[in-house]
Symmetry: C2
């Protein structure tokens, strides 16, 4: 499918993340400081909340679906409503739409507009489904022979994360404090994390609830859309805390998502298959069709006041398990899934060194610091660094992108008096 033209001129260039083919959903602060729902088109946002209030947009016989500036209520209405709304917004923004002059007053420029969380995260689950990432991390921690845990080729390994710390792109991230103990120290101490890291991931948003177990095909239909996701990770806190029950405070400081939710519909042309299975999957995890997406991804790191270096380039198609497989597995015990659940893909690394989606891997546990264009080196993140994830599915003369997923590292807060020896 080629670029679909819009009457919003800036949407008709091969460089924009937001052509008519995309139409991703976000939320922003209106002039009055209220959250509004919006659809990105070129360098503009269609203010869906105000368009609904003025009667231009109407979701079936529902009132004020977008009143609170949050897509959760819309998601809950289900796939038929998702499809009808997308068709209607496509019609409104397509080149030649006669009502365009009336819509112009509901258009807001993206530049200078503050984005907010586009949906309420019910619960957040993070997976560990990238083969190269798991192999890299496993090799560092357990040696090359024992790199992949025995269950890894059978289970999309996941753990529950913390929904309350999911933030939208642009939110600064404060370096965490925590318990730290180096292998050569006898006792732990409490202080700032020294090995603060990013994890390049995709997030899948569950748009429909489940009761009981669902198949991979049903799970795919429940997914509302995808975001870029940075699962900030305190490697030193994690190393000391994670046995035996998994990461906890190491992953609880913040998880940043892109401001725009790219719908499953917009990504349809970019579906691709998971890699060949090394060990046959159990039937409940088998895919009825291609469930991954070909999405080019990159990570930029800019030290404070310095230009950015792209430190990694990879692709979502490198994952071993798809979000639909992860969601199906998530329901296998009878666990109810809810509208607004967020599933992190796991770190997306490719087979080559420059394709690694974390500094842990890029610097090989800090042993091989990477050099930035500015000449500085990095093993882990330093205060003032700004991290930016970018991603786009690349079509024929257009791209379906997510906007930047960014966060700047603030210095750790002081250890309170009562927490000092």
């Amino acid at each position: 499918m080629p670029l679909q033209p819009s009457w919003v001129e800036s949407a008709n260039t091969p460089e924009t993340d937001f052509p008519l083919n995309n139409l991703p959903y976000g939320a922003f602060l209106s002039d009055a400081g209220e959250p509004h729902c919006g659809v990105a088109i070129g360098d503009m946002i269609l203010d869906v909340t105000s368009a609904e209030a003025s009667g231009i947009i109407q979701i079936e016989d529902e009132d004020e679906v977008f009143f609170f500036g949050d897509w959760t209520e819309f998601m809950a209405l289900g796939p038929a409503v998702w499809a009808a709304f997308r068709a209607e917004v496509t019609r409104l923004l397509a080149d030649g739409y006669e009502g365009a002059p009336e819509l112009v007053e509901h258009m807001v420029p993206q530049v200078g507009t503050r984005m907010v969380m586009p949906f309420a995260v019910s619960e957040y689950t993070d997976f560990y489904a990238g083969r190269h990432h798991a192999t890299n991390v496993g090799t560092m921690f357990r040696g090359a022979e024992n790199a992949l845990p025995p269950n890894w080729l059978s289970i999309p390994i996941g753990y529950n994360g913390r929904a309350s710390s999911v933030v939208v792109s642009g939110t600064p991230v404060r370096r965490p404090l925590g318990q730290l103990k180096a292998p050569d120290e006898d006792l732990p101490r409490f202080g700032p994390c020294a090995r603060f890291d990013l994890e390049l991931e995709m997030g899948a948003i569950v748009g429909q609830p489940s009761e009981g177990m669902v198949s991979v095909g049903q799970a795919d239909e429940m997914i509302f859309g995808y975001v870029l996701l940075n699962d900030w990770s305190a490697r030193d806190i994690q190393a000391w805390e994670y046995q035996p029950l998994g990461p906890f405070q190491a992953k609880a400081t913040a998880t940043t998502v892109s401001p725009w939710i790219v719908t499953r519909a917009a990504l349809e042309p970019f579906r691709c298959a998971t890699p060949k299975r090394e060990r046959p999957l159990l039937p409940y995890l088998r895919e009825p069709g291609p469930m991954l997406y070909d999405i080019a991804l990159e990570v930029g790191l800019a030290p404070e006041g310095k230009p950015e270096t792209v430190i990694a380039r990879t692709n979502y198609r490198e994952m071993y398990y798809s979000a639909a497989q992860q969601l199906a597995h998530h329901t296998s015990s009878g666990c109810p899934m809810r509208v607004g659940d967020l599933l992190g893909s796991g770190t997306i690394s490719g087979p080559e060194p420059h394709q690694r989606g974390s500094l842990l891997e890029l610097s090989w546990g800090g042993k091989e610091p990477i050099t930035l264009d500015s000449g500085e080196t990095r093993s882990f993140l330093e205060d003032g660094d700004t991290l930016t994830l970018r991603g786009a599915a690349l079509g024929d003369g257009y791209r379906v992108g997510f906007g930047a997923c960014t966060g700047q590292i603030l210095p750790a807060g002081a250890v309170p008096d009562w927490a000092q020896d």
Copy 2:
């Protein structure tokens, strides 16, 4: 403090869980099938939602705090409101209250009334803070020398659980399906859990949000109240899935809480200290006073159609870490806590064999099945079994109890066609 008499006669006996000293908060279905908030007193419930609607109860200048039959909004109002409300309900239900006749129409008998979830669980975190439990499980899995992980005496180890699967007492629990692989099997299979277990825990409900790190003393002030909590656990699913990132589907089927939230205020007379520290805690985890509670606990198991056997008796004071310590640790990375977060204490086992809070421990991994009064034996739970947790702080001629926390095991559902080989 002795028993405080109420005009509700059944509240004045030493046997009731619900004397005037207690006044726990729950939610129930009204005659019209709507959830209402209630306070237990003897064998009755004061219908707080209807009492508010009729003007007998008024929370400051707030309207309809109890309208939706859920305590979440009330919790969010904070400790001063909690204290004022408790004082007012104590006045209304105390012996000699002159307006008692007017209150009678807002009293509902507990018998025959269906309880529902008393609050919306924001997120659920489960801990592993019982010394005896951790030692027992560690001994079974890693041998007596390596029983406690190296971090255990320094960190209240926790992992995020699944809020969507928290259910109120009385909800049947369906035996989960899942991936299973015995050590002598080459490949996993998908089928019903064969080692389904209970975990006897207390749950602490976070009633105030945090931003940034809080001290143990501040954490204590944030706790609204406590419930009994059964963290149903699929041991065979867990054994295969839990490395390296912790339990996931093994703990996602259901977590049952008691219908009544016993407030921190009601438990004040029963505060007691955590045990002597074997290794000094870091200052951020030190307690400004006694933070545990002396609460006698027991577990009953009744096979279908047979009488119940009490299979374990223990006490909440056996924990090594208090809920306040757990909550303080939870915020140490900057993780925001929210109203309605639920913290499971971890399995509460005492030093003696009959004080163990799980069948995994009671039957020592299934090797030493226990014998019930009916003559049947149990290594793990069987279909039809009803599990009941009970707990009460024992005062001078009265008890402050939680009501029964119960659940019956239903047989696993059939494996769907698409999940079969």
